[in-house]
């Protein structure tokens, strides 16, 4: 059969007859398979989008509550005999009165309030005051220290309500769920109902969640994202200041000057691999090198920034190289043609043209760094760390702080629904930052996109 002449091989086949206008059974079967296959594709995309929708609705549904907080408005009489026994308004003397000294004033204020709305209860005044946050007394004390001349007068105050009361107004806490709760009782909830009806206990927008500091795990109602936001800001500063110049320099070298040799190959392979190394490994590096070896302070945004810089560099290098590559060789040739050196052609012509692309890549790299959590856990940027915003840049870089994602993790660990709500709310804030950054990147790309 191998030596069959060509002519024989060319013998006419038996053509399948049959009209094109009728589909045969096999074609119908194949078309059904086709439809099924296409449906799998649609199903897959629908699944992906469904996950996105579930995720986003969960975040919004559970997190928006954190932006509202329950406050109780009461009038407090700032009794002189409690706050300033000597009556000389000397701040040093007033400071000697601790928050415990303010507790009686608050109890009296609550009692007066209950009497005013005519609510009959067996609650003791201490139990009434327990409706307020544990941070209420400190807030009052701070107010007095700032306005010592108000002592002796009666001032209307808006105190944070404690988290169970807040949860009750947000329907997170119900009368059924508090059966074994020692933080609140049914009688207290009756009082809450009365105060809500009267109007002095109500939910309102809580700026302190956005600007405030974290609070201890007894006071979820007072915890805020503000200080960790500053921590994140300082880290991003470090990343920007280090990763952008180093990344651009490395990209210029690799794209424009590097000779094709084994050293360049090793660098390229290294960058590609570092881009895929788990982030926690960078955390270990940071712990071992920056903290254990160089003795930089634990939990400092500087260290976090250094770690994130190393982590972000590959991303920035990869995108910068892409934008350098997109500048056509004709531009370089034109510059070289008028007698510029290679270095001049790159810095005067190629780099400015690639700048929008580099900036876009940098912003996306920063966004990635902003959301990263794992390495921060290892260098101690998690836990109840900073209760005050840093005052100088040096302090901001060096003094212990947390970061937004680490703060969210910290709240998630505290296993209290009130903190969970704050974790989701923190995610909303984090996502607002990320969306803004990505939107800026997209806008830059659209605005400066160049087709050569």
């Amino acid at each position: 059969m191998t030596d069959m002449p060509i002519e024989n091989a060319g013998a006419a086949p038996a053509p399948r007859k049959g009209s094109l206008l009728e589909q045969d059974a096999r074609t119908r079967k194949r078309n059904r398979a086709e439809a099924r296959f296409k449906a799998y594709g649609i199903l897959a995309i629908a699944m992906g989008l469904l996950m996105l929708v579930i995720l986003l609705t969960t975040i919004v549904g559970r997190g928006t509550g954190a932006f509202q907080q329950t406050f109780l408005t009461v009038e407090v009489e700032l009794l002189e005999e409690k706050l300033d026994k000597k009556g000389n308004r000397d701040l040093a003397d007033i400071k000697k009165v601790s928050t415990f000294g303010y507790a009686p004033l608050m109890r009296a204020a609550l009692e007066a309030k209950v009497a005013e709305i005519g609510f009959e209860t067996d609650l003791k005044s201490k139990e009434m005051a327990a409706l307020l946050s544990k941070s209420a007394a400190a807030d009052l004390r701070n107010f007095v220290l700032e306005n010592p001349d108000m002592i002796g007068e009666t001032v209307e105050f808006k105190f944070l309500a404690q988290s169970r009361v807040d949860g009750y107004l947000k329907e997170r806490v119900t009368r059924a769920s508090i059966a074994n709760d020692k933080n609140i009782s049914a009688a207290q909830l009756d009082l809450v109902d009365a105060l809500v009806a009267e109007g002095s206990l109500q939910k309102q927008f809580n700026l302190a969640f956005i600007t405030g500091a974290d609070a201890s795990d007894q006071r979820p109602e007072a915890a805020g994202m503000g200080v960790s936001m500053i921590g994140s800001l300082f880290m991003m500063l470090v990343v920007l200041v280090l990763a952008l110049p180093i990344g651009v320099a490395a990209s210029i070298y690799l794209e424009e000057f590097a000779p094709k040799n084994w050293i360049t190959d090793i660098i390229e392979v290294n960058i590609a691999n570092l881009a895929a190394v788990p982030s926690i490994v960078f955390g270990i590096l940071g712990l071992a090198v920056f903290i254990n070896y160089m003795h930089l302070p634990n939990s400092a945004p500087l260290v976090g920034g250094l770690v994130l810089t190393l982590m972000t560099l590959p991303t920035i290098i990869i995108s910068t190289r892409a934008s350098l590559k997109a500048v056509p060789p004709s531009i370089r040739d034109a510059a070289l043609g008028v007698g510029a050196s290679k270095m001049q052609s790159v810095f005067h012509h190629v780099l400015p043209l690639a700048a929008p692309g580099i900036l876009t890549g940098t912003i996306i790299g920063l966004a990635q760094a902003l959301g990263e959590t794992a390495p921060l856990l290892l260098i101690g940027m998690v836990g109840f760390i900073a209760s005050n915003a840093p005052e100088t840049i040096g302090e901001g870089l060096m003094s212990p702080n947390s970061a937004m994602p680490a703060q969210i993790y910290e709240w998630a660990k505290r296993a209290d629904p009130a903190f969970y709500e704050r974790a989701w709310g923190g995610i909303i804030i984090l996502l607002v930052f990320l969306i803004t950054m990505n939107a800026i990147a997209v806008m830059l790309r659209r605005r400066f996109e160049r087709r050569w």
Binding site: T58, A249, N273, I284, L313, M398, I427
Partner: protein, 511 residues
């Protein structure tokens, strides 16, 4: 013995009190740089009697050259000095500590951190004026209560200061001060030498631009080699601590033991195998979710979808990739976990009426959520790879009367297979190294079990738990994290290198 924990040390600016003098050196160098720029530029212009056209390079290049000569060697030396000085000082100071103190259930590192702490405390005391520098140097542990003294200036110590530690701390202070002083002198001398050399060289014929460009090229090269340095740093930092670990703990137990049971009183079982099992189990579930969904999405988007559907669905899917992992972690812990418990674990109140699941954290919880996270990763990589398959192959198949799905399944996918395998390997490496989802969603129990509804733990979660909170870098329970990290690094590196190699080969095939 002073019980110094990381969190306590962290509260102090530590050796950065020295940073003041380092900052001074840096500022001085910068001032010299600026002066050099002006002086040398002026000299170059003067050398051609003000006619800049007769210079070889533009006047500013002479200035840059001077700046380069002054700043680069000086600053590099500063950085190098600061890296090496602590090492030298530590090696000298450690000799002052009697060996029996180290042997007392502690380690060299721990004693050294005590020494540093006392030294820092003395620095604080001197800085606050609580004592003079001479007094600090003359302190004797048996005559003064150092602990009380330092407590007065706000430095709390866990216990009394032993004589050798105080002595070492004083030595440490002296050496640090002397070292930093010497550094300042040498660095400034170097900067001035550079300035003089630049002055001497910068005449009209000097090719300043070429020199500057060569210098810039070296800087660019250094920036590029930071990638190598980072990798070396990662490997070395984990290698050294891992070696410390293997000195304290048998490597056979680590690699071949069957139990993970750290015990801070010592005598722990620290085997990686149960952690590896949990890691792999979760990763496999994640891939089972992500690969079909991601791959089919990519096929649909690149083969079937109209450009309008594509431009709408692709960015939406990619949002999933931009969401930080902490969000997925919270989603696992608070949404998916409780949902699964509702389905599998509520007994008669649940959806299935079974009671197979006891808590929200489980292999399935973490695996599902990680799968969702990986969908866009798989889909965009596969999308690229499917698009790289030449259209001519599709045409060939259509021309033979194949349906679209036959073309995809029998021509496009086989042609794209190496690339897709590469993409899946990259996704697997992601899954293995993912931390936040498993920290929050997988649980903390190390065990071999085939039941996906049970909590298990992974390599990354154990790294986090061994290295956070109060850690003692002399105990195997802490150091094991570095061995785990090294294993994780080697594992993911292997996967990445393999995957990148496959993908690169694949792309070359169609270029």
């Amino acid at each position: 013995m002073i019980c110094a924990t990381r969190s306590q040390i962290g509260g102090y600016v530590g050796s950065l009190l020295n940073a003041g003098s380092v900052g001074f050196v840096v500022i001085a160098v910068l001032v010299l740089t600026a002066a050099g720029f002006v002086l040398v530029r002026g000299r170059a212009v003067a050398s051609v009697s003000g006619d800049a056209r007769r210079l070889h390079s533009l006047p500013n290049y002479y200035g840059y050259f001077a700046g380069m000569m002054v700043a680069v060697p000086a600053l590099l030396l500063t950085a190098l000095w600061m890296l090496i000085q602590p090492m030298v000082i530590q090696n000298t100071v450690i000799d002052l500590i009697p060996a029996d103190m180290v042997a007392e259930g502690s380690s060299v590192n721990l004693v050294m951190s005590d020494v540093r702490r006392v030294a820092d405390g003395l620095d604080v005391a001197v800085a606050q004026g609580a004592m003079t520098a001479d007094a600090a140097a003359a302190l004797e542990a048996d005559q003064t209560d150092v602990r009380a003294l330092l407590a007065d200036v706000g430095v709390a110590l866990g216990s009394d200061v032993a004589a050798p530690v105080l002595e070492a701390a004083q030595k440490y202070r002296v050496m640090t001060a002397r070292g930093t002083g010497t550094m300042a002198f040498v660095v400034l001398a170097l900067a001035i030498l550079g300035l003089i050399a630049a002055m001497w060289m910068s005449t009209g014929n000097f090719r300043a631009r070429n020199m500057v460009e060569r210098g810039v090229l070296v800087l660019l090269m250094l920036a590029a080699s930071l990638a190598i340095l980072t990798t070396v740093g990662i490997v070395l930092s984990m290698l050294f601590e891992s070696m410390n670990f293997f000195r304290m703990h048998p490597w056979t137990d680590f690699f071949f033991g069957g139990k993970w049971a750290p015990n801070f009183r010592g005598d722990s079982d620290l085997s990686i195998l149960p952690l590896l099992w949990g890691t792999m189990y979760i990763s496999v579930i994640a891939l089972l979710v992500a690969v079909p969904i991601g791959l089919f999405s990519a096929i649909y988007l690149s083969e079937y979808a109209s450009s309008s559907v594509r431009s709408f669905a692709k960015p939406l899917l990619e949002i999933l990739a931009g969401i930080p992992t902490i969000v997925y972690g919270l989603f696992a812990l608070l949404t998916v976990g409780p949902f699964l418990v509702n389905v599998f674990g509520r007994g008669d109140n649940g959806l299935l009426g079974v009671e197979w699941m006891s808590g929200a954290t489980a292999v399935l919880t973490a695996g599902l959520v990680m799968g969702i996270m990986l969908i866009p990763f798989v889909s965009s990589l596969s999308d690229d790879i499917i698009n790289a398959v030449p259209q001519s192959l599709r045409d060939g198949s259509f021309g033979l009367g194949a349906t679209h799905s036959e073309t995809v399944r029998q021509v496009v996918l086989p042609a794209a297979l190496p690339g897709i395998v590469g993409a899946i390997l990259l996704a697997a490496s992601r899954a293995i190294g993912e931390t936040m989802i498993v920290v929050l969603g997988a649980g903390a129990i190390a065990r071999f079990s085939a039941n996906p509804l049970e909590a298990m733990t992974t390599i990354t979660t154990r790294i986090v738990s061994q290295l956070t909170g109060d850690t003692n870098f002399a105990s195997p329970e802490t150091l094991v994290a570095f061995a785990l990290g090294l294993t994780l690094f080697v594992l993911t590196l292997g996967l990445n290198v393999l995957a990148l190699y496959i993908v690169r080969k694949y792309r070359e095939q169609y270029e």
